[in-house]
Every structure is written in structure tokens, then in C-alpha cells.
């Protein structure tokens, strides 16, 4: 069946990549954007989307979405989370390799891709494991992983056995021009910590993760990136100092990028004061100074992406004493409104906020999405900037209802999501 011809009319288009911020019509055919502004000759639409009062942006790209499939289907599934992504305006997802089994063979990538095709609600890309079974010692078959479609390699949150293994892994990844996605963490410093080491961890008697667990790792990683020439990306930085170290490295033309997770832009160690398991994150929520430093890094562009760090859980996962709970929050539903809120609160410009969830992550992943360009796939998110709604278990589309933002008033609601030129989500 041919794809519909769609006209999106009357909406405000914001496309940071093409510096568009204007009320313009958008014309779509065969899954692609065919014109912006003026209608092509003889264009007849099958569907006209009236976007008056709405904002159309490129479909969002999320750098880290735990789908929980394969391995933890009791928490969520590719089906449930792709639909949640569509309802949140997210059209491209990047899945970290710490599934069960780990993404260290083409078979697992194929499985994920097959399931994603069945659902048809989002593009899913996978990061391959940097080491076999993420064991931190044996290199994975990176060439095979790349051939199978992996767009980068990562050891997720698992440590590498030594700096030597890390060096070799970087060199091997660089051989195949694979970006290495790093979680900067010195495992011996973070040990069994479950929150930021500071006055709150002291008060609560919870094992802390010192700032140096991140900065020591960033320093070591940067040295090896420089040595090996690998292209690298720091995932989910949490400290102001690490952001400054990365800024310095970028200034020195070391090929690194970095992102931040939404919770670290709004919350801090102070939120943990009542042992609330929804505030249990690894890496942890840091200080308010760090939160401000992350916002600054986002504004300056050192951090070129905001990520949901989506980790949906079953309800039992958070029903235990704080250290025994599973870290992470379900983040797809809040990615767009909480990124818009940064602009609303003047932490960065609206087009920059949009860039951090569209063109920014697209560049990190080296993907041809995240922009509204003629000839490119029509992945589009159309939202109502004035609509407010409350984030809660009923309003969330993800199967995981675990969020520290429960009860928060969200502004900006997705009305249409288009993937490959087809309307895959619509809210009337």
C-alpha cells in the first residue's frame, strides 16, 4: 500500500538543524518530506493535519531506552515501550546492550529488530556490547555487531577489568569506526554506593558514590580517547566537574560528546531525604551545584543531548528498603515536556532545547534523522505547547510507572506522531 500524502498546515515548525522557527506548511509523500512552505505542483493530500496552534518538530531521538526485552518482559516489552515512545513524540530509540541475553551477537540485534518491525511504532537502534557478555575482559565481535546494524558499542554500566582492556577495546572499536558509549564510573570508588556521597548520604547512612567516581573515570577515559583516537560519547554525566572536563576536551578537539538524563536536570540528592525509591538512580542524583552545572553544559552545548534514560520497572522493583530497590525511572513520557520546561524556565533557548532531543542525539548516533529536511524521512512530532497535564500512572503510556516526577504538572502534549510519513499516534 502506498504511503499517504499528508499536508501539515498552520503549525509552527521548529527545526534547529535547518534553523527553521516559523509558521510553515509541511508536505509529505512516500514517507518523506517533499516540501516545506510552498506546496509542490499538483500536490493533493490524502490527509490534512490542522496544526494551527501546535508546534511541529522532528521526531524525538532518545539515546537510552531500556525496552526490557529480551530478558525482563515482566517490566516492559518492545511492544509496550515503542507505543509509549510514539505517544511521547519519540520516533527513534537507542537500546543499550545490557539486555538478557546481552547484545553481543547479531542474533539478539535481529530479534530486537524483528520485534520492532512487528510493532512498527519506532525505529530502534542497538548499541553492541563492548566486551563479550559485558564481562569487561573479552572483546566482543565488534565487526560482526556493526555488520548486523549496531551503531555503537558500550559496556553499559558494567566495569572493564583494567585500563589495558579499555585501551584495547577502544583501539578495536576505532578500527571499525564505531563510537564507544561510556558510562564514566570508577567501580572501586563507587563500590556498593547507592546515592551521591555528601551530607545527605551521611545523614541517611547510605553508602555514597563520590563525585570522584565520575571525574576520575572521565580523566582516564579522555586520556585513552586521545591516545587511541576512538570517537567516544559520555553517557549521562552527573557532575559539574565532569562537564567542565569534557568541555575542555572538546575545546582541545578531542572527539567526544556527552549527554545528560532528564532527572539530573531537575532533582538532587536532597530529594532522597525520605529514602524514596523513585529517587534511586545509578549514576546518582548529585548536588544542586551539579544540577546547575549540567544545565549550563546543556546551554553551552558541551552536552549535546538530553536523554530519558528510560528504565521502566515492575512495581515490586521499588518496594524495598532504598539500597535494595532497583535504580532508574521510566522516562519516555516526560522527555518532551521536561525538556520544554528547561526553555520555559529560561535555562536554554527553545530551539536549543528541541535540538538536544532531535539533531543533537542524531549527530551522536550518526543517523540521518532529527531534522525536517526535504528528502528525509518524515519523522515528526506535533505537540500542543499550551496543553497541561499531570504525570501519573494513568497518564503514562510506558508500562513502567516508576517516576520521581509523579504528580508534576507537565506542559506540552503530543498530538500527532509521524514515523516514516505515517501517523502512528494521534491524540484528539
Amino acid at each position: 500500500m502506498p504511503k499517504p500524502r499528508i499536508k501539515i498546515s498552520g503549525g509552527r515548525l521548529i527545526d534547529p538543524e535547518n534553523r527553521i522557527n516559523d509558521t510553515l506548511d509541511l508536505y509529505i509523500a512516500n514517507g518523506c518530506i517533499i516540501a516545506i512552505g510552498e506546496a509542490p505542483d499538483g500536490f493533493q493530500s490524502d490527509i490534512e493535519v490542522d496544526a494551527t496552534g501546535l508546534v511541529a518538530v522532528p521526531g524525538l531521538i532518545d539515546l537510552s531506552t531500556r525496552l526490557r526485552e529480551p530478558g525482563q518482559e515482566y517490566k516492559a516489552s518492545i511492544d509496550s515501550e515503542c507505543r509509549a515512545a510514539a505517544a511521547s513524540g519519540i520516533t527513534t530509540l537507542c537500546c543499550p546492550p545490557d539486555t538478557d541475553p546481552v547484545i553481543d551477537t547479531p542474533a539478539v540485534i535481529e530479534l530486537i529488530r524483528y520485534r520492532a518491525r512487528q510493532v512498527g511504532a519506532a525505529r530502534i537502534f542497538s548499541l553492541g556490547a563492548l566486551t563479550r557478555d559485558l564481562d569487561g575482559e573479552h572483546l566482543s565481535e565488534m565487526s560482526a555487531l556493526k555488520s548486523a546494524g549496531c551503531i555503537g558499542v558500550s559496556n553499559a554500566l558494567k566495569p572493564l577489568a583494567s585500563t589495558l582492556v579499555q585501551r584495547r577495546a577502544f583501539e578495536y572499536a576505532a578500527t571499525f569506526d564505531l563510537t564507544v558509549f561510556l558510562h564514566a564510573n570508577d567501580a572501586s570508588l563507587s563500590a556498593n554506593g547507592c546515592m551521591h556521597e555528601g551530607h545527605i548520604s551521611t545523614r541517611l547512612g547510605l553508602p555514597g558514590i563520590p563525585e570522584a567516581a565520575e571525574t576520575v573515570a572521565v580523566a582516564r577515559d579522555l586520556a585513552l580517547i586521545q591516545q587511541t583516537g576512538v570517537r567516544a560519547h559520555f553517557c549521562r554525566l552527573t557532575t559539574q566537574r565532569a562537564v567542565r572536563m569534557v568541555a575542555r576536551a572538546q575545546f582541545d578537539n578531542i572527539p567526544v560528546s556527552a549527554d545528560v538524563a532528564v532527572p539530573n536536570l531537575y532533582l538532587s540528592e536532597l530529594d532522597t531525604i525520605d529514602f524514596g525509591a523513585d529517587y534511586h538512580f545509578i549514576p546518582p542524583l548529585r548536588t544542586q551545584t551539579d544540577r546547575d552545572g549540567l544545565r549550563e553544559g546543556l546551554s553551552s552545548g558541551t552536552l549535546s543531548a538530553v536523554c530519558s534514560d528510560h528504565q521502566p520497572h515492575d512495581s515490586d522493583a521499588k518496594l524495598a528498603p532504598f539500597p535494595a530497590t532497583e535504580p532508574g525511572a521510566s522516562g519516555l513520557d516526560s522527555l518532551l515536556p521536561l525538556t520544554l520546561k528547561l526553555a520555559e524556565e529560561n535555562h536554554l533557548l527553545l530551539q536549543d532545547a528541541i535540538a538536544r532531543i532531535t539533531s543533537g542525539p542524531a549527530k551522536i548516533l550518526n543517523l540521518p534523522y532529527g531534522e525536517l529536511s526535504v528528502g528525509r524521512a518524515a519523522d515528526i512530532c506535533i505537540y500542543d505547547p499550551a496543553a497541561t497535564w499531570q504525570l501519573n500512572a494513568d497518564s503514562m503510556h510506558s508500562q513502567g510507572k516508576n517516576t520521581p516526577f509523579r504528580g508534576w504538572e507537565m506542559q506540552g502534549q503530543v498530538r500527532y506522531t509521524l514515523l516514516d510519513g505515517e501517523v502512528i499516534y494521534r491524540k484528539d
Binding site: 556521597e197 555528601g198 551530607h199 548520604s201 551521611t202 545523614r203 541517611l204 547512612g205 547510605l206 553508602p207 555514597g208 563520590p210 531525604i273 525520605d274 529514602f275 515490586d316 522493583a317 518496594l319 524495598a320 528498603p321 532504598f322 539500597p323 535494595a324 530497590t325
Partner: protein
């Protein structure tokens, strides 16, 4: 902080006893006064009062303990409650579901109070949030977070020795503050009672980050820190601290931080020496001091029963009142 809310009923009385932090001076004083009245009971030949007759108290211990569990059991029995001791091997993986399941199962047996010890900080708070409205929770130690009955019995002992005016007292806590739930509870309790000067004395490796934010003065030199103090509380040093690269040796620790007669002479002449036990003789304290005239280590154990009776009866009395209203 909502620690306050969860521990206290709407009418201001004690519901759970999870932490000395967040409780008012009045409530802490009431605990001490009530314990004083029970201290008489424990000294009588018939050591029982019928306050909690018909109530069921479960000692739910996920961490090995003899002394604390025994004093809780004795306290409950002297209040005429029925007591059930449940020891869950914490070396077997205790998962969240299991803990909650255990709790739900026991609750179904109409338990009125849980006394909980667990190696994870926050466990008592977690359980207090999960139990039905008529059930009270007493924290018998959670991770490194709090051990409020131990702290209150220490404070009770101090009050008996030094009188009720904490404002003129200088109290030093010596040793492994970083890993000590007792120290945290003592610091909060002493500060809430307006103690004039609370000090911690330890090498940096045994102090938690920003320890001064708890409201203490920090010393690294024992002699200097002990100068003119009224009370010295020695903390137990766990053997495993040598393995985590926190200390070089017991020998060096004893040289620097072991309490000897000579170092104690820096303190006020009528100084009181305390230790929450069990004691490592020759590691953190010299036997001569532990058994000497300044030591009240055995009185602490006796006070433990009175304090636990006080806390249990206060938390449960309120629920009795509530039952009557219902």
C-alpha cells in the same frame, strides 16, 4: 522533613520510633521520663506491668544480634506482651519482595508491633510506610542509618549520671563514625536536647562526608578532642575496617584512638565513659578504663530495658487510645 510526620501521630504522640532525627525535644524527654519510671519496675522483684497485655510484638531481625534482641524481648515481656522472635538469615539474599511478603504474612497474624533490624539503611522507614494504621514499628538498627533505642539508652545513662541540663555538657564520640548507626542517632538526639558541645574524634577514613553538617565539632587527635569533656562514648571498631584500606592496623589505631587512663586524663575529672558494646578490649579501649570507676558500660545495658519498655509502651498506648476511639 517528613521523618517527623511518619514517626508522630496527628496528636503529636509517638507512633513509630525510627530515628532520633525529626523528633521534638519534648518527645525525647518524654521517652527519658517514661524510661525513668520503668527503671523502678525492672528493679522490683516482680518485674512486670500489664500495660501491653494481649498485644503481639514481633522481633524481626535480618541481622544477627543477641543483646539488642534480648533486651527488646525482655522489655516486651515485662510489659506483658506476647513476643515472637523471627531471625531471617540476611546472608541469604533478602529481596524486597521477600521482605514485604514476610511482613504481610506476619501482619495477617494480627501483629501490633514490629521491632526491626536490617543491614539496609531505610528498612524501618520502608516497613513503617507499608504497615496498617494500627501497627507500630521500632527501629532496632538499619544499616548505618539509625539505632535510636541504643542512642536513647546512652542519653538516658548520661542524664542519670550528669543531670538533665545537657546544655552544659560536652560529649565526645570516638571511633568509626562512618559506619556507625549508633553515632548518628546519638548525635541527632544529643543535639535535639541542646547538648552544649558534641564532638567526633576519628581519622578521616572513619568519618563520613560532611560529618560537620550533622552538628558536631571534628577532631582527629584524641587527646585534643577529649580536653574537658564530660562524657566519652567509644565506638566498636569492626575488624573488617582493616581490609577496606580504612586503617593500617589495630595496633596503630589503639596507639592513636584507644582510650587509656593517660588519654582519659585530658577529660574532666568526673568524666563518664560509655560504650554501646560489644567491647574490643585493647583495640578501642583499655580494660582498665572499661572496668574502671568512670565506666558505666554495664549500667547502659540495664538502661536498655527501661528505654525499650518506654518506647514500646508509648507507641502502643497511643494505638490503644485510637482503638477506643474507633
Amino acid at each position: 522533613m517528613s521523618n517527623t510526620n511518619i514517626q508522630v501521630r496527628e496528636d503529636g504522640r509517638l507512633r513509630h520510633f525510627l530515628s532520633t532525627e525529626g523528633l521534638s525535644r519534648e518527645l525525647l524527654t518524654e521517652i527519658l521520663d517514661t524510661a525513668e519510671s520503668f527503671a523502678g519496675v525492672t528493679e522490683q522483684s516482680v518485674k512486670k506491668v500489664p500495660l501491653l497485655r494481649g498485644k503481639t510484638i514481633v522481633n524481626l531481625f535480618f541481622e544477627a544480634s543477641t543483646r539488642t534482641r534480648t533486651t527488646f524481648e525482655l522489655a516486651a515481656k515485662r510489659l506483658s506482651a506476647d513476643v515472637l522472635n523471627i531471625n531471617v538469615n540476611s546472608s541469604a539474599t533478602v529481596k524486597g519482595e521477600t521482605l514485604l511478603d514476610t511482613l504481610r504474612n506476619l501482619e495477617a497474624m494480627h501483629v501490633d508491633m514490629f521491632v526491626v533490624r536490617h543491614s539496609d539503611s531505610g528498612t524501618a522507614h520502608f516497613i513503617a510506610r507499608q504497615v496498617q494504621p494500627h501497627v507500630s514499628v521500632i527501629n532496632a538498627g538499619d544499616g548505618r542509618h539509625a539505632h535510636p533505642t541504643q542512642a536513647m539508652l546512652d542519653i538516658f545513662t548520661i542524664r542519670r549520671e550528669k543531670g538533665a541540663d545537657f546544655g552544659r555538657l560536652s560529649v565526645a564520640i570516638v571511633g568509626d563514625i562512618a559506619h556507625s548507626r549508633v553515632a548518628r542517632s546519638q548525635i541527632h538526639g544529643l543535639n535535639m536536647l541542646n547538648t552544649g558541645d558534641v564532638r567526633v574524634i576519628a581519622p578521616r577514613t572513619l568519618l563520613p562526608a560532611h560529618v560537620e553538617s550533622l552538628g558536631v565539632r571534628v577532631f582527629h587527635d584524641l587527646r585534643e578532642g577529649l580536653r574537658d569533656v564530660d562524657v566519652v562514648i567509644m565506638l566498636r571498631l569492626q575488624n573488617e575496617r582493616m581490609e577496606g584500606a580504612l586503617l593500617p592496623s589495630e595496633h596503630e589505631y589503639y596507639q592513636l584512638y584507644g582510650l587509656t587512663e593517660e588519654k582519659l586524663s585530658m577529660a574532666r575529672p568526673d568524666v563518664t565513659v560509655m560504650h554501646p558494646g560489644p567491647i574490643n578490649r585493647g583495640v578501642e579501649i583499655d580494660s582498665q578504663v572499661a572496668d574502671g570507676p568512670h565506666s558505666v558500660i554495664l549500667q547502659q545495658v540495664t538502661s536498655g530495658i527501661a528505654i525499650r519498655m518506654a518506647v514500646m509502651s508509648m507507641a502502643m498506648q497511643q494505638s490503644t487510645t485510637q482503638d477506643n476511639h474507633a
